[in-house]
């Protein structure tokens, strides 16, 4: 709520689009709160998730009061086929391998991005540790034909190699050799990105491939 409240307090009047856990898992206050806010668009879609073996179906796992961020899930019934009048005639199961929610989010972003005009600016951000002091869209250059902003973290405080989390992600995905090359590079967190719609579309396709 600090996320939404501080964002709105900056004067930002655009859309806020959220993917939330199943409504059933929310406290009622939360749903009421979200419904009470203007121009907040909420998607609550049940993910198909698995136990740690990656095979046995399982509801979203809770760990230490929050969701297990490493649980593998699929986006069933998110894609499908529509007839000429826009009616859904077939819902499709996810044909890709299971992904953690942090990875799945980019498909949500892609789906949402398609709902906006090419000139719109889009901010992708994690809500949990974010609050706003000023309107992030104020003074942005418009109609730049695909401007994309990445944000580097303070390289004096942390680096890809210095950050245990970043280092482990790179080590696990690409190996020690790649990590050593990137060790001194600044962290550019994918949890905060801005761009024009057409640029965000490209960026998300690349991440989702």
């Amino acid at each position: 709520m600090s996320f939404i409240e501080t964002l709105r307090n900056t004067g930002f009047q655009g859309d806020i689009v959220l993917a939330i856990s199943n409504v059933e898992l929310l406290f009622k206050d939360v749903e009421d709160y979200l419904r009470s806010k203007e121009n907040v668009v909420v998607y609550a879609h049940e993910l198909t998730c698995f136990k740690s073996d990656g095979v046995t179906p399982s509801p979203r796992s809770l760990l230490n009061g929050g969701f297990d961020v490493f649980q593998m899930c699929l986006l069933d019934d998110v894609y499908g086929i529509k007839d000429s009048e826009g009616n859904i005639i077939e819902k499709l199961k996810d044909e890709r391998i299971g992904r953690v929610v942090a990875t799945l989010r980019y498909e949500w972003y892609w789906i949402w991005t398609a709902r906006y005009n090419p000139e719109s600016w889009i901010m992708l951000i994690d809500a949990r540790d974010t609050f706003f002091q000023t309107n992030p869209f104020e003074g942005l250059p418009r109609n730049q034909n695909g401007l994309l902003y990445f944000f580097g973290e303070n390289a004096e405080a942390t680096r890809l190699g210095k950050s245990t989390k970043n280092a482990n992600w790179l080590r696990r995905s690409y190996g020690e050799a790649t990590l050593s090359v990137l060790w001194e590079k600044p962290t550019i967190c994918s949890g905060s990105t801005m761009g024009e719609q057409k640029a965000i579309d490209t960026y998300i396709r690349a991440l989702s491939e």
């Binding site: 019934d77 529509k82 709902r115 906006y116």
Partner: protein, 179 residues
């Protein structure tokens, strides 16, 4: 240390609870007063000389068509997203902030609180600092477990004051001051 749990209808937009130490003591009835929204001003550090944005000339955007749509695995161009909002309506001509899984569970508030309190930079960004003991209030029933759980934490030296509308408000018995 006192902790107040306020339930129901406490959070008006743009307002926050403040503690008025002059009208109460640790044994007397507490007094909570409203502070106007104008009392709060974010601290913007404009002294930094670093460039906020630098163009990465070595990176060239190819084109949207270089990368396939996430539906490429279906190998069927008729496949499209079919999900619709549970509530709310997209406005295509607007700017938009997109947020992934936005859940409120106990750990959310705990995490937010820890990040804000123990992160000096975050505390400065909030723009308000305080001395004295800390009070936590909530007007939402769902946050009550979090607030009550703080009784088990050593709160005696919280130099922190934060306004979060309607949800968790961290107050100080001491004097709040701008930083």
């Amino acid at each position: 240390m006192w902790i107040f749990v306020l339930q129901g209808g406490g959070g008006g937009a743009g307002r926050f609870w403040t503690w008025n130490p002059s009208t109460s003591s640790s044994t007397s009835t507490t007094t909570l007063v409203w502070a106007a929204n104008e009392d709060f001003h974010p601290k913007i550090d404009s002294s930094s000389q670093s460039e906020l944005f630098e163009i990465a000339h070595e990176i060239e955007v190819l084109s949207p068509t270089h990368f396939p749509k996430p539906t490429y695995k279906y190998n069927n161009s008729a496949v499209v997203p079919i999900v619709e909002p549970t509530f709310g309506i997209h406005r295509p001509d607007q700017d938009v902030v997109m947020v992934r899984e936005f859940f409120f569970v106990w750990s959310f508030f705990c995490g937010m609180y820890v990040v804000l309190f123990w992160g000096g930079a975050s505390r400065r960004r909030v723009g308000v600092e305080s001395d004295g003991e800390t009070f936590v209030c909530t007007s939402y029933k769902s946050t009550e477990p979090f607030v009550l759980s703080l009784r088990s934490i050593q709160l005696t030296r919280f130099h922190f004051c934060l306004r979060i509308h309607g949800v968790v408000v961290v107050l100080s018995l001491g004097i709040c001051r701008r930083v």
